[in-house]
Amino acid sequence: MTTVDVTLLVLCFSFVLSLIRAALGPTLADRAVATDVCLFCVVGALALFGVRSGSAVYVDTMLVATLLGFIATVSLARLLRRRRPDEEEG
């Protein structure tokens, strides 16, 4: 096992932890923050896949995921401003 393999496993662990928070999370903001960290884990894992295979294809995917993640977070935050907490389900 190289460092890259171990770090991939660690990223999976972190992904699962934040996915649990995204499932539990009492408010929409909790879910937004937790899925943000999930996406960070995915971006890191894509970079490490690129290192493992030595191909640049994963790096392109990672760049797109990075850009999409920012847009997704900001649009979720705008949605959050329009809602009152009492009309949130679960």
């Binding site: 932890l17 923050v33 490490l48 760049l63």
Partner: protein, 117 residues
């Protein structure tokens, strides 16, 4: 070069797991955001920098560095927007909170226009 990259990747993984633990364990949205944003953006920066040291092709290295800079610039912005949105939409603070610097801010109507900040 490779050893430095390995060390950076390992440290980045450690920070990412700290971010996951903080997201799961901390008591309210704002402290979770503190764990998630700071630890995860530094962790991701370390992972991407270490990967850039490992890669052979120049285009891949440039893309990794571009993603690193972009993450480092945008993740505080995203966290700020989410935090402000969460506060304005009335999500309660943890009962152990000591300082609330936004306490004077009006919790606005959902029908009122978008606040300027």
């Amino acid at each position: 070069m490779t050893v430095v990259g390995d060390v950076m990747i390992g440290l980045g993984g450690l920070l990412m797991v700290l971010a996951g633990l903080g997201i799961l364990r901390l008591p309210d949205v704002f402290s979770r955001m503190h764990a998630g944003t700071k630890a995860a953006s530094l962790g991701l920066a370390l992972i991407l920098g270490g990967s850039a040291l490992h890669m052979q092709q120049l285009p891949a290295v440039v893309k990794l560095l571009a993603a690193l800079v972009f993450q480092f610039v945008t993740s505080p912005v995203a966290a700020h927007v989410i935090g402000r949105g969460a506060y304005v939409s009335g999500i309660p603070l943890w009962e152990g909170t000591l300082v609330d610097e936004l306490a004077g801010l009006d919790p606005e109507d959902p029908s009122s226009p978008e606040p300027s900040d």
